[in-house]
Symmetry: C2
C-alpha cells in the first residue's frame, strides 16, 4: 500500500475527511506537462458561519485555466504556486451553515477548483435543478460555456437572419453552443475545427451548414468556399492562424467576437491582423469576459432552457472518471483533442 493511501485510510478511520487536490507545482512553458501539477491531500475544512461544505461530483475543464497558470495577470489573477487549479465544479452540499443552502442541495460552484471538496460562502454558487437537465449539462450548455456562447453571440455578434456566422473551435463546449444558437437565429453557420471526426460532429451532431478542417492543407480555400457570401459574424475562440484566414473574408459591417485565443495560450501572443480592414470594412472587434455580464443570466436560462427542452440543442460531453485524469484531459483539451464539454466525474 502506497504511503499516501496509508495516510488517507488512517485519517478516514479517525473520521477526518481527506480532500484530494491538484495544485500548481510549477508554471508551464508552452503546453503544460504533468510535472506542472501535483496531487496533494489535506483535511477537509470545517465550514464557518455562513459557509457551506460541498463534495464535488464533477469538474468542468476549461482552457481559460491555462491562462491563470501563467505569471501574467490577464482577466483573472494568476494562480500562485501551490494553489488548487481553477475550475468549475458540480457538487452536493454536505454541511451548511448558510440559510440559503441545505444539506443535499446540488450546486454548481464557479470556483470549486480541481479537488474533491470545497468551502464556499455561497458567493458564485448556484443551485442546480436536476429535473430540467442532467446534472452535467449545468457545466456545459446551461453553464458557463453555454452562457458565454449566448452573451457573446447575441450581445456582441448581433447575428441577423440569413447572415453567415463562422465559429472557430466549433465543436468545443462554447463553440458548439454558438453554432447552434446561430442556427436557431436563422443564420448560415460554418464551423472550423480540426480533424475528420470533428467534421462529423459539426455536421451530424450540431447541425452546422458547413464544416471546415483547419488541419487540412486546403483550409484557406475551403473556408473561402464555405463562406461564398463572406462572413458577417466571426466568433473567435482561437486567434492566430485560423483568425487570420477568416479575416479577409469579413463583410462590411462585420462583427468579430473575441471570446478566446486558445491557439496563443501556450505561447507568446501573436500579432494581430492589420487594422486597415477594420476601417475600410467598418468592422467591430469586441472582446468580452462572461463575468461582466451576470445580468444576462435570467435571459440565458429562459432561452437556453427552452431550446434545450425543445430538443433544439445537442450536447456532447467527454466524461472521464477520477481526479487523476483531470491533468491528462486538460492537456488533451489544450491540444484540441476533445469535442464538446470535457468533464471529470469524481
Amino acid at each position: 500500500m502506497h504511503h499516501k493511501q496509508h495516510v488517507r485510510v488512517f485519517l478516514t478511520k479517525l473520521g477526518i475527511l481527506v480532500n484530494r487536490q491538484i495544485i500548481l507545482a510549477s508554471r508551464p512553458t508552452g503546453l503544460p506537462c504533468p510535472e506542472n501539477f501535483r496531487m496533494i491531500e489535506s483535511s477537509v475544512p470545517v465550514p464557518g458561519e455562513g459557509e457551506v461544505l460541498i463534495r464535488h461530483t464533477h469538474l468542468g475543464l476549461a482552457p481559460a485555466a491555462r491562462l491563470q497558470m501563467g505569471e501574467a495577470a490577464s482577466y483573472r489573477a494568476p494562480m500562485k504556486i501551490g494553489d488548487v487549479i481553477y475550475g468549475q465544479a458540480l457538487g452536493t452540499v454536505l454541511k451548511s451553515r448558510n440559510p440559503l443552502y441545505r444539506e443535499g442541495d446540488v450546486v454548481m460552484i464557479q470556483d470549486g477548483g480541481w479537488q474533491e471538496y470545497s468551502i464556499s460562502d455561497g458567493h458564485a454558487v448556484t443551485k442546480v435543478e436536476s429535473d430540467i437537465a442532467p446534472l452535467t449539462v449545468w457545466l456545459g450548455a446551461l453553464g458557463t460555456s453555454g452562457m458565454t456562447a449566448y452573451v457573446g453571440l447575441l450581445d456582441f455578434g448581433l447575428p441577423q437572419m440569413g447572415e453567415t456566422v463562422v465559429v472557430s473551435a466549433a465543436s468545443g463546449a462554447v463553440g458548439s453552443m454558438v453554432g447552434q444558437i446561430a442556427r436557431i437565429k436563422g443564420c448560415r453557420v460554418v464551423g472550423i475545427a480540426g480533424g475528420q471526426e470533428k467534421m462529423t460532429h459539426l455536421r451530424r451532431d450540431f447541425g452546422y451548414d458547413a464544416a471546415v478542417d483547419y488541419k487540412d492543407a486546403a483550409f484557406d480555400e475551403a473556408l473561402r468556399e464555405a463562406c461564398s457570401a463572406g462572413i458577417d459574424v466571426y466568433f473567435d475562440n482561437v486567434g492566430g492562424h485560423v483568425r487570420d484566414v477568416a479575416w479577409p473574408l469579413m463583410n462590411r459591417n462585420g462583427r468579430i467576437v473575441v471570446c478566446g485565443q486558445i491557439s496563443e495560450y501556450n505561447d507568446s501572443p501573436a500579432s494581430g491582423p492589420g487594422w486597415f480592414d477594420i476601417l475600410a470594412r467598418r468592422l467591430s472587434v469586441r472582446g468580452f469576459i462572461l463575468s461582466d455580464h451576470a445580468n444576462r443570466r435570467p435571459d440565458f436560462l429562459r432561452d437556453m432552457g427552452a431550446w434545450y427542452r425543445e430538443g433544439r440543442i445537442a450536447i456532447r460531453e467527454e466524461v472521464q472518471e477520477g481526479l487523476d485524469l483531470a491533468v491528462p484531459a486538460f492537456i488533451a483539451m489544450l491540444q484540441g483533442k476533445n469535442s464538446g464539454k470535457a468533464i471529470i466525474k469524481l
Copy 2:
C-alpha cells in the same frame, strides 16, 4: 507666354469657360510626388436637365484621397489614371437647371474634386449658410472633418465624463475636433502630434489637457505619464507605432475608434497588436466610415453649430491660394506638416 495659357486666353475670348483640373497621372508608391499629378485644362461642361454648374472657391484637402490613389479598392473605388483627384469643394452655383438650387447659392460639394468647376445633379451637394460661420468652416468643423469627429467619438467612442480620451493626429482637421468635443463632454483629453509647434496648438488653441510629441525620443514614457489613469477612449487617426504605444495603456472596457490609419497610407499596412488584450481587457475596436452615418447630420449640425456659436470650438485652418498649391499642400499633409484643416483657395 506658355502654350497652355495661350489656349486658355483663346478659349476664354470665345466665351468658353476653361476648367483647370488636377488629375492622377500615375499611382504613387509610398509618399506621392508631384509627378503623380498633372494639371490639365478642359472646357467647362454645360449642365443638363436637373444639374447645376458650380464654380469652386475652395478645396478641402483630406488624407483619404491618398487611399483612392492606390490600386486597391478600400471604402471607395480607386481613382483611375486620368481621373480628377477626389476632394471636397466649396463653390457658387453658376448655372442651375435643378429647382433646388439657384444661381449664386453657396454650396459644399462632397465630390467636387481638385478643379475649378464641377457639375452636379444635386446629390452630395449641401447649401451652406454663410451667416452661421465663415465659408471655410463648412469644409472643416461644420463639414466632413467635424462630423467624422462627432460621429466617431460620440457613437463609437462613447466618452463618459471624467474618462481619459486620447487622440492621435490631434491637431489635424478631425483630431482637433475630437479633442474639443471630448472636452465639452467632460473628459480629460490627451493629444498626440508631432513637433513643438503642434504641442502649442494642442494646449493653447484646442485646450487639450496634455500634449505628447510622437517625434520625441521619450514618447512612450511621456504618453504613459500623460495617461496615468489609463486610456478609456483612443481615437485612432494614424495606426502604426503611435497606436502600438497607446495599446498597452487601454483600460478595461476601453473603446478604440478606428477613423484613419494615415501612418500606413503610404506603405503596405502594418500588422496590428496582438488580440489577447482585446479579450482580457474587453476592448471594443470599431472602424467606421462617415458616409454610412448621414442620418446623424441633423444632430451634428445642431450640436456642433451651437458649440461653434458659443465659442467653444476653436478653428485652425491653413489656407493656401491657387490650384497649383494643392499638390504640395497635400504631400505636406501626408508628411504630417499641417495643423488644422488644409484648404486651397481658388
